[in-house]
């Protein structure tokens, strides 16, 4: 039987991230009998507040308080975890930019198995865990067998294990700060530079016409702008459009961009990666235009149009204009 299950808790300004609850749910899916232990690192009152908060959903909460941990620097936290975790630990971490930073190296240092970006678990048999992952930008899924005999670090995709809310388990906080020991600082956190604010605030818009790589060329952005104008909407986009410098960063929807809550979202030539969809909240009416009928965006869209957007969008624009 696999070892003790742990969950690393991410938090901000003294409040646990949604993933704190999602990891409890994920642990239950791995093994219904598991009672995961929360690990919370940091310093001072924010740390205490989060430890107390997560006692509602974790029976045991390990607290590590140290000034060097004040900012969550994965390079330091990894050293700490290697010292304090049992050899066969199964560690759950949210697959965000912190989890991407921490986990692969942690698994190597613990000599355990790393399982990245898991979207589902399908049972544990002995030491073998069957998990579901996605490949090729979510176009196909795979089952993987993971060997947990030496423990594992498992990164869980945020948002997929929807939690029902804290269970009120009334757990206890165990202060483990004395076990921290010496920490080596080969990567030193300096500051966080906030993303630039642009000319429009897409987070406040009701209707967005969003363009992805399918727009193919900078000159074609106009096609989306004309459609947006006809609809009374604003243009937003996926990451490759910003990488190519065709639109400003402030118009990017997704985990590394803006979180938007429109009523209507038109996705033109966007495949529907989880990083993109992670920025789309509030259950909007989604229209997807994509020439690939297998594009993952069609799984989340309400209405799909399997066409070349460069042909379809101008027709739509014209028809809307005619009707006005």
């Amino acid at each position: 039987m696999a070892g003790q299950v742990f969950a690393y808790i991410v938090y901000k300004e003294g409040k646990a991230d949604d993933t704190a609850l999602e990891l409890v749910k994920a642990a239950g899916k791995i093994n219904p009998d598991a009672s995961p232990t929360a690990i919370v690192t940091g310093s001072g009152s924010d740390l205490d507040a989060v430890c107390n908060e997560v006692t509602a959903s974790y029976k045991e909460v390990w607290k590590f308080d140290n000034e060097a941990l004040a900012y969550p620097n994965a390079e330091i936290i990894r050293q700490l975890l290697v010292k304090v975790l049992p050899a066969d630990a199964v560690v759950l971490v949210a697959h965000d930019t912190f989890g991407m930073d921490l986990s692969p190296g942690l698994a190597i240092m613990l000599d355990s198995t790393f399982v990245p970006d898991v979207v589902d678990f399908e049972g544990l048999e002995g030491d073998t865990l069957k998990a579901v992952r996605q490949e090729f930008s979510g176009q196909v899924s795979t089952h993987v067998n993971c060997d947990l005999s030496n423990g594992a670090v498992i990164n869980v995709r945020p948002g997929v294990f929807q939690a029902d809310g804290a269970a009120g388990v009334g757990g206890q906080v165990i202060d483990k700060s004395s076990e921290i020991g010496e920490l080596v600082l080969r990567r030193r956190y300096l500051e966080t530079v906030e993303a630039e604010v642009g000319d429009v605030d897409i987070t406040k818009e009701d209707v967005l016409v969003s363009v992805g790589r399918g727009i193919e060329d900078q000159d074609n952005i106009e096609i989306a702008e004309e459609l947006a104008e006809a609809m009374g909407a604003v243009v937003s986009c996926s990451r490759p459009i910003v990488d190519a410098k065709w639109l400003e960063k402030s118009r990017q929807v997704g985990t590394s961009g803006q979180t938007v809550k429109p009523k209507v979202y038109m996705a033109l030539g966007i495949s529907g990666s989880f990083q993109h969809l992670g920025g789309l909240k509030g259950n909007p009416f989604i229209v997807a235009v994509n020439k690939n009928p297998k594009a993952p965006i069609f799984q989340v869209a309400d209405v799909g149009i399997v066409e070349d957007l460069l042909e379809f969008a101008p027709v739509l624009t014209e028809k809307i204009a005619e009707g006005k």
């Binding site: 090729f136 196909v140 209507v264 799909g304």
Partner: protein
């Protein structure tokens, strides 16, 4: 500065419809268009720009079959100085740790100040850079979207985190960084560039050249084993509108009006 950039040849998901093969054991690979992994291309561009400023050389390395040579050559056409292909039947079926084990051996045969990987590749794992750093006992940073050389002992780097905010760090050299897209604008590679490197010899190293034990890599050593590929049945999905462009537009306009999508 001596820089090693790890690159992977992948099916281009922007160009291909990925389909599961009939028996579910693989995807249909016959008609796929392959290219260099998008993130890796940014990493190579960054390495070239760093060397342009600070001197040194860029080596591009790929773990793969003989066809992976084409992406190594392409990145050399971009301006990388050296290429290296790590290929052996024993490498087949490696998991992330296996790939990192192979790369580690290649790193140890050189003398690199900086090792770059892409933040992510076609398997969506984003694991090789972090694993490689841990195996080499070097500092690591992921999703890097800015690199500034401070002196020959350290870099100032930015990590692009949630919300597009940038987390700035100082990191000791040598180190391993995984690169995020958008860090630069990768240069265009023309036919002339490709021609220039067409006949350059690219060394191929296997287990014996690398000193890697065959049973420490490949399918047998993998602790994460892929069982199949499948397309999940996710309920209803979108209602697909059919008809001519005009008919579809008319139907959509009615729906948009009902939902407040046309003001």
């Amino acid at each position: 500065m001596e820089i090693l950039v790890c690159v992977k040849r992948v099916p281009d998901t922007a160009e291909n419809e990925i389909e599961v093969a009939a028996d579910g054991s693989d995807i249909e690979r016959d008609d796929l268009v392959y290219s260099v992994n998008e993130w890796d291309n940014y990493a190579v561009e960054e390495a070239i720009q760093l060397v342009d400023k600070a001197g040194g050389s860029v080596t591009v390395v790929s773990v793969g079959d003989e066809e992976a040579e084409e992406v190594v050559r392409r990145e050399m056409a971009m301006g990388a100085n050296n290429g290296l292909l790590l290929s052996d039947d024993a490498f087949e079926g490696s998991d992330g740790k296996g790939t990192a084990t192979i790369l580690k051996a290649a790193v140890e045969k050189g003398n690199y100040d900086l090792i770059l990987t892409g933040a992510l590749a076609d398997d969506g794992a984003g694991q090789v850079g972090g694993m490689l750093a841990a195996m080499l006992d070097l500092p690591f940073a992921s999703v890097v979207n800015r690199i500034e050389v401070m002196d020959d002992k350290k870099l100032k780097i930015g990590r692009e985190i949630e919300g597009g905010n940038q987390e700035m760090h100082e990191i000791d050299l040598p180190c391993v960084l995984s690169i995020q897209t958008g860090i630069n604008e990768p240069r265009y590679v023309g036919i002339r560039g490709i021609r220039k490197v067409a006949s350059v010899e690219i060394p191929v190293w296997g287990t014996s050249e690398l000193g890697v034990a065959a049973d420490s890599v490949g399918a047998a050593a993998a602790r994460v084993k892929r069982l199949d590929y499948f397309v999940p049945d996710l309920g209803e999905g979108a209602e697909i509108l059919e008809g001519s462009l005009e008919e579809v537009a008319d139907k959509l306009i009615e729906m948009l009006k009902a939902k407040g999508g046309i003001k």
